[in-house]
């Protein structure tokens, strides 16, 4: 949800002494809807974090095909005719033509030169279909030529990173919020819930609100210079102009607008802390503190104070019925969408009564979306109402980096274990049994 972290200094596999790992040459790849994270197993943060979005220009490639642009620097560069696209959809790979190139870039641009020397562990969401899993192992062995491969469930990895083999994983991603009950390191598939109310949903809610207020978003790249203006006064900025046919594309503009919205989410948006849902009409003196109003300056200098709206924009996550609706901006059907509490309720419905208590005792919150200010407080309130009996205990790292990379970190440690060696699928086994081996070995 935030702008990309700068990757750490020039890459080298970590030394055994430094990290106390047994096996240091494995690579870990955690492809997400918004960011693709890669790094060496045994390290505590991924060294290569690139946007999952990529840029392309039709006909500019070597033989008249597409020229592709990956990575933070290239994707955000202003180029005539460059379109922005994303090979991921709903948190899983939808475009298999581009995803392998994106992954190769993530792995080779900063980390390893020769992929055939490093075992590869990839993480996947629970709803990844068999076809996609087989395709992943195919890409790993046939395109990348890795010596060994493993596919790990992201929720399980996140739970392990918190020291829990039995837990409820609440993962707030860009495409989805996913709630996954895990028992003894195995996902309880029946209980898995996901709803399209993650970071992208929040962006669209903010877009809707701004559109309703008549505020247009001018991305940074369009602004040449700006002069400070008073609150609510029209912007007085000089915008860049491009000669005919040289202007950046609409998809690029949208992608850059998203960056402004991300900034907005970080500085302004806030979850209503509860208890109870956000009231439709504030009681007298309902928002006691001045802190409830915050100002936000847009790239063109226009600035505005935001009060209660800051809570309204996020309320859809908890009570979908109160989501902002608009004819032009996509949003899920409020009636068919479950809020956070109902998702957890649905997830726990089929869980055996004996382990219910243990699971509710370790609710692990992860994903960059959960860094939304006061998200945890509200979530805890909601869960407390839904499950008044046993104590609901929430585990969330206070360190933003750990919250964003918990899944990667789990994969990183798993792949670095000496004892994990025997679980890798080797190239030989793949050649003997075919892609279907992934179904048998990576459960």
């Amino acid at each position: 949800m935030s702008a990309g972290p700068s990757t750490l200094p020039p890459s080298q596999a970590p030394s055994t002494l430094e990290y106390g790992g047994d096996e240091i040459s494995a690579l870990v790849l955690d492809p997400g809807q918004c960011w693709t994270r890669a790094g060496f197993a045994g390290e505590d943060t991924p060294k290569s974090v690139i946007p999952s979005h990529y840029g392309y220009i039709e006909g500019a490639g070597p033989d008249g095909g597409r020229k592709l642009y990956f990575g933070d620097n290239d994707v955000h560069a202003v180029r005539a005719g460059m379109e922005i696209a994303n090979p991921m959809s709903d948190g899983i790979v939808a475009d298999w033509d581009t995803a392998p190139s994106l992954w190769r870039y993530a792995l080779t641009s900063r980390l390893a030169q020769d992929l055939s020397e490093h075992p590869l562990l990839v993480t996947e969401p629970i709803w990844n279909p068999t076809k996609n899993r087989e395709k992943t192992i195919e890409v790993a062995f046939e395109d990348f030529d890795v010596p060994a491969f493993y596919l790990a469930r992201n929720a399980v990895c996140a739970g392990f990173a918190f020291g829990k083999s039995t837990a409820l994983i609440l993962d707030v991603g860009a495409a989805n919020i996913a709630v996954t009950p895990v028992h003894d390191g195995y996902v309880l598939k029946k209980g898995c819930q996901r709803q399209p109310i993650g970071g992208d949903f929040l962006s669209n809610q903010i877009r809707t609100h701004l559109a309703n207020m008549g505020i247009s978003i001018t991305p940074h790249y369009q602004v040449l210079s700006k002069i400070p203006v008073d609150v609510g006064k029209p912007a007085e900025a000089t915008l860049k102009t491009w000669p005919e046919g040289q202007a950046p594309t609409e998809s690029f503009r949208r992608f850059e607008e998203e960056r402004v919205l991300t900034e907005f989410k970080e500085c302004c948006a806030q979850a209503w802390p509860g208890p109870g849902p956000l009231p439709a009409i504030m009681p007298e003196g309902g928002v006691p503190n001045v802190a409830a109003t915050r100002s936000f300056e847009f790239p063109d200098g226009y600035n505005m104070l935001f009060g209660l709206e800051r809570f309204r924009m996020t309320e859809g996550i908890f009570t979908p019925r109160s989501m902002l609706a608009s004819a032009n901006i996509p949003h899920p059907y409020p009636e068919h969408t479950l809020g956070l509490k109902d998702m957890v309720f649905a997830a726990m419905k089929d869980v055996d009564v004996d382990i219910k208590q243990i699971i509710l005792n370790s609710v692990v919150v992860t994903g960059a979306g959960s860094l939304l200010y006061q998200f945890n407080e509200r979530a805890l309130h909601e869960l407390g109402i839904a499950f008044p009996g046993p104590r609901v205990k929430m585990l969330a790292s206070q360190i933003p980096v750990e919250r964003r990379y918990a899944t990667w970190l789990g994969g990183s440690i798993l792949a670095s274990l000496g004892s994990f060696h025997q679980l890798w699928i080797s190239k030989k086994e793949y050649e003997e049994h075919g892609a279907n081996i992934v179904e048998k070995r990576c459960k």
């Binding site: 106390g20 047994d22 505590d44 399980v156 739970g159 392990f160 990173a161 918190f162 020291g163 829990k164 083999s165 039995t166 003894d184 390191g185 208590q357 243990i358 005792n361 370790s362 585990l395 970190l409 789990g410 440690i413 798993l414 274990l417 000496g418 004892s419 994990f420 060696h421 025997q422 679980l423």
Partner: protein, 143 residues
Amino acid sequence: MSRSGVGLAGDCVTTFEQLKLGKKTKYIIYKLSDDKKTIIVEKTSEDVDYDNFLADLPEADCRYAVYDFEYQLEAGEGKRSKICFYSWSPDDAPVRSKMVYSSSKDALRRALAGIHSEIQGTDPSEVCYETVLERVSKGAGNR
């Protein structure tokens, strides 16, 4: 086989059987070997004081433990004893350690037959006598 590929040392199960059948051992503490490839027995004890057992769980590292939990039923219905499995994983433990312990728990847990309840502990309040008593006796027991 656990999710991490960690295996068991030979005496893990036999020590447990002694606790279960011998009724002499009070608790067993298990840990991962230094090369993190096998689970080994760190300590067995016949000490009946619950606080001494808690003192054996390190503050900043993970452990597994089996404790033969005894409690008194109300109205003189006698004593009961239940065997509990603990996975101790405090917040202050290194991430790596939490990870290995939680992903390896399965290997040990599945090898031990006759466990009554499982306790996941991250702070002392979750493994204190009262909490465990309530879990084990379902609210019916006394000290």
